[in-house]
């Protein structure tokens, strides 16, 4: 199944301004302004300038937080987004409870404590972002992430992503029962997405610093229903109204 662009001109718009360019503009702007965020629950709050609102929206990081105060602009990032912007793009500092910026390994430990599957989810997130796919939460579709070819305003998400790991203590329980498996394949197909399983593998035992991520690999597999009556991989049914996102 190919990309489903939202309008006639969407593909051209996306080609004219690739996601890597948009992210690069955001990155340099945030570095210039010395942006700092702080941990809050299972996420990071970021105060940014008015110009940066558009850049974050374009690059599809976080969600704006609406307040009555028109002088400030707030964004909330997920843990994966925040760590990606901090550790990979190096454009955001993150402040801890003691008001001083956290070191990479401190932040890493902190996020792993906040989310048991953080390591695997971050590896999956950064893997897709590293290939310039836009990654958003998949909770609307009962999966871990959804992946877009470009900005969600231009194109529907192509993949429903499940992060899989068989590492001890970090097993993802998804797709282990036939009922869940059939349900996930069925649902992904009916919203015109291909189910993509990212299997995170490692030989590393030490996970105390983010440098351990290099020892992890990501294997990409699609799961599709095959219909022997039609002798082809099943094409999800495209319904105009049921497949927003």
């Amino acid at each position: 199944m190919g990309p489903r662009w939202k309008d006639n001109g969407s593909k051209a718009t996306a080609l004219a301004d690739p996601m890597s360019n948009i992210v690069a503009r955001l990155q340099s702007s945030l570095i210039q302004s010395g942006t700092c965020g702080f941990l809050s629950g299972c996420g990071v709050l970021l105060e940014i300038s008015h110009d940066q609102v558009g850049l974050l929206n374009h690059a599809c990081f976080g969600r704006p937080v609406t307040t009555a105060d028109t002088d400030t602009n707030w964004f909330r990032l997920s843990l994966e987004e925040a760590f990606y912007m901090h550790h990979c793009l190096k454009c955001v500092e993150i402040i801890g409870e003691d008001k001083s910026p956290k070191r990479d390994d401190e932040l890493w430990e902190c996020m792993k404590l906040k989310k048991r599957t953080f390591l695997e989810f971050y590896k999956a997130y950064s893997h897709l972002r590293g290939k310039n796919w836009v990654v958003r939460s998949g909770s609307q579709y009962g999966v871990d992430f959804v992946a877009y070819r470009h900005h969600p305003a231009l194109v529907h998400s192509e993949y429903a992503v499940i992060v899989s790991s068989e590492a001890e203590g970090h097993e993802n329980c998804r797709l282990k029962l036939w009922s869940d498996f059939e349900c996930t394949v069925r649902l992904s197909g009916s919203v015109a997405k291909t189910l993509l399983v990212l299997h995170i593998k490692s030989n590393e035992n030490c996970t105390f610093s983010p440098s351990c991520l290099e020892g992890y690999t990501v294997e990409e597999r699609t799961i599709t229903r095959w219909s022997p009556e039609q002798r082809r991989e099943d094409q999800p049914i495209v319904k105009a109204e049921s497949s927003k996102g």
Binding site: K131, R149, W178, F181, T222, T224
Partner: protein, 265 residues
């Protein structure tokens, strides 16, 4: 009269009268659940003799064209696996006899499948039947159709030694000895490579079948784990795999394809 016949055949099918050797029509039964492809009944009835030691049926009277894609050839004799035997018996295309040439009832064949003694359980039979009735050519995984290599035919790239017990199977079959070693082993694993499946092909030849289109795997309890997938993929050396899940008689097939997501601009 029509009603009675229809009931007789759909419920038991041990006795099929002459009138019923005709293709059924789709619209015959408005209550049909439609999950099982239409059954075609045969007028030509072949005969086979069950060899309990081999766990296979030796064909003694061959009728109709179906034998080009059914049965394995060893020493100029044709043998049918239990699933092939039952499939043909269900369709009225095969009369199975015991060593004393007494007919074996369909019920007895169902019981043989239930006992899993010949390397086939009910679920693998359902998978076999589903693909067969759609025209696919289906053979036991790793069991060659024939020991004869035809001159000038394309040498199959299909690895003949992929299953540990495959070599044993070939030798056993060559020497016409028991198959039980191979068939017994097939039940141990949670996930097994069950069938080599070829697309419908009127030019199919047992002497040069080529590589199967895919290998069908059956899972028993849960969907395959990544480790299991990788292990099976290694054993199949590049032949695609498909997985089959059967519940309440509904047969579903899935592919787990490794991909490389493109790096976008």
């Amino acid at each position: 009269m029509m009603e009675v016949d229809a009931w007789e055949n759909s419920s038991d099918g041990t006795v099929i009268s002459e009138d019923d050797f005709q293709d059924r029509k789709d619209d015959e039964d408005p209550y049909s659940l439609g999950s099982i492809p239409k059954m075609q009944f045969r007028k030509d009835v072949s005969k086979a003799c069950w060899d309990a030691e081999m766990g296979m049926a030796e064909i003694i009277e061959m009728k109709g064209g179906l034998w080009t894609t059914t049965g394995i050839v060893r020493r100029r004799k044709l043998y049918c696996s239990i699933e092939e035997t039952l499939y043909l018996a269900e369709r009225g295309a095969l009369l199975l006899l015991d060593v004393n040439h007494t007919p074996i009832s369909l019920r007895a064949i169902y019981e043989m499948v239930g006992e899993r003694s010949s390397g086939c359980c009910w679920e693998s039979f359902e998978a076999y039947r589903h693909l067969k009735s759609l025209g696919y050519i289906v053979g036991r995984h790793g069991v060659p159709w024939s020991m004869k290599k035809e001159k000038g035919s394309c040498e199959s790239t299909y690895p003949q030694g992929t299953q540990e017990n495959n070599g044993v199977a070939q030798r056993d079959l060559e020497e016409n000895v028991s198959l039980t070693g191979l068939l017994g082993n097939m039940q141990i694993n949670e996930v097994k490579l069950a069938f080599d499946v070829y697309l419908p092909n009127s030019k199919f030849r047992k002497s040069s079948p080529g590589d199967p289109s895919f290998v069908l795997c059956l899972t028993r309890f849960h969907p395959p784990l990544n480790e299991e997938l990788e292990d099976l993929e290694r054993k199949c050396n590049g032949i695609p795999l498909k997985f089959c899940h059967i519940e309440h008689g509904r047969v579903s097939f899935f592919s787990f394809n490794k991909i490389a997501l493109p790096i976008l601009p």
